[in-house]
Symmetry: C2
Subunit: 275 residues, 2 copies
């Protein structure tokens, strides 16, 4: 019945208006392996951080103390691969286009399926993502490069802003960058501030050096941005903060989605009653 | 320098406009031992649930899955009696007017000071409370009995609405009751919906029997309400849900604030950026 799941060679436009379950089915079937920008527009996309249960309470406090970077959408029971609040029909081990496996804080492997890696003590944390409000920004006519150019994807950087630590977790707030045409700046701030589960308002606008970014071309994740004359640099807290914390703490094991390859949830961005 | 802390015989009106730190100092010094309604108006008051670390991750998931009843404001590190986000100068063991100690799910003792009971594996969870928006309701002229009569306090009931379980925690949503004059009903719903960290909109209005409450006079906590002709019964999710879950699970040990005797935080209700 799910035609998308049976198809190869899908293009992004076909998945923009698809239901989250259909997008996940296409990903699970291998029909979509790219980043998830603009997919299932209007629904929350989530960063996914998988940790052993013994680190779970530390990490959950880390999220609560750093809600701009890591707004909690759902946390699974130990060993349960189903995010029962965010997508009760999904499987976190198969429904993401790509995963990163970290050992001792270092990326060691990128895989397409987690079933061989999943353990009974694994806990998955789902946290909010900027891509969730692509629809809001499109409706408002905000011409962010990743919305208007198919080949563009936001850049991310380690900032000099520290996270509030919790247990073993500490490190810098990772930020995502968008150039904002100056006449739209206050509108973009106002719009994004309304979505705290998707990182809310910018945490910095203007000179990147003030938050420890020496040069925009030297990205830590994502794509180096093009010059955008007449635009103001704006930075939002980013869920990759979890990966940076894993690196800073050198924790023995952590699995995440690959940056930009998010988990598409059933949670509508327009529905604020779930969390 | 803190005159309130040196005084006995304080009356509620003196503490309504006091700073949270001054209210806590008065409580710590024994000058205030009653419930905390209307104290430090405009600041979040918190339900406090203290558990051993081995149950902490279960309980934190329980809160995340039941955000109407248990909206998380802060969670302490194991053994740390300081809620560093909600009130970094406070001590959770001394700054609440009364505490309840539960063993095997049953209330066994009510104490005024927790220092003799505090352990290195204790974790304190602070969750939002309806009393936090007393100022909002007063400003809007909503004549709830607990706001206009000094001797009134809201009633609470076990409802037939189940919580989403997490680990050992399960049980009914506990609700607090307020009679709403019929012409004000939509206004009260709209106002309270804006404050999800203080239980948000009602979870039920109208016939109490529809959520398992056979008779309003048979309260589970708080005061039996007076008849209020011309009013519609309205029910909000309540933080006492944590105590009901402890009872339902029969967990060996839990310490909480005494119902109505909340922890007064430094978090301004008007500041939504902290969580």
């Amino acid at each position: 019945m799910n035609t998308l799941a049976d198809r190869q060679g899908l293009v992004r436009a076909e998945l923009e208006r698809a239901k989250p379950a259909d997008v996940r089915a296409a990903i699970r079937a291998g029909g979509w392996t790219s980043n998830t920008k603009r997919l299932a527009l209007g629904f929350h996309q989530a960063n996914v951080t998988i940790l052993p249960e013994r680190l779970a309470f530390d990490f959950m406090r880390f999220c609560l103390r750093n809600p701009r970077a890591l707004p909690l959408l759902d946390v699974t029971d130990p060993g349960d691969p189903v995010p029962r609040k965010a997508a009760p029909d999904a499987d976190i081990r198969t429904d993401i286009p790509a995963y990163c496996i970290y050992r001792d804080g270092k990326l060691v492997e990128r895989v397409r399926d987690l079933r061989a890696h999943w353990r009974k003590d694994h806990v998955a944390f789902l946290t909010g993502c900027n891509l969730s409000i692509d629809q809001v920004l499109l409706d408002a006519g905000i011409p962010f490069p990743h919305l208007v150019r198919d080949d563009a994807f936001p850049a991310q950087y380690r900032s000099s802003i520290p996270c509030a630590p919790a247990g073993v977790f500490h490190g810098p707030v990772v930020v995502s960058y968008r150039p904002v045409p100056e006449p739209l700046l206050m509108r973009v701030i106002d719009l994004t501030a309304r979505y705290p589960l998707s990182h809310g308002a910018p945490i910095h606008i203007g000179d990147p050096e003030k938050i420890g970014i020496a040069a925009l071309r030297n990205v830590d994740w994502g794509q180096p941005p093009q010059d955008e004359p007449g635009s103001i640099p704006a930075f939002w807290a980013c869920g990759i903060t979890a990966q940076a914390a894993a690196a800073a703490a050198g924790i023995a094991e952590m699995i995440t989605h690959a940056p930009g390859h998010m988990f598409v949830t059933d949670l509508a961005v327009s529905d604020r009653t779930f969390g």
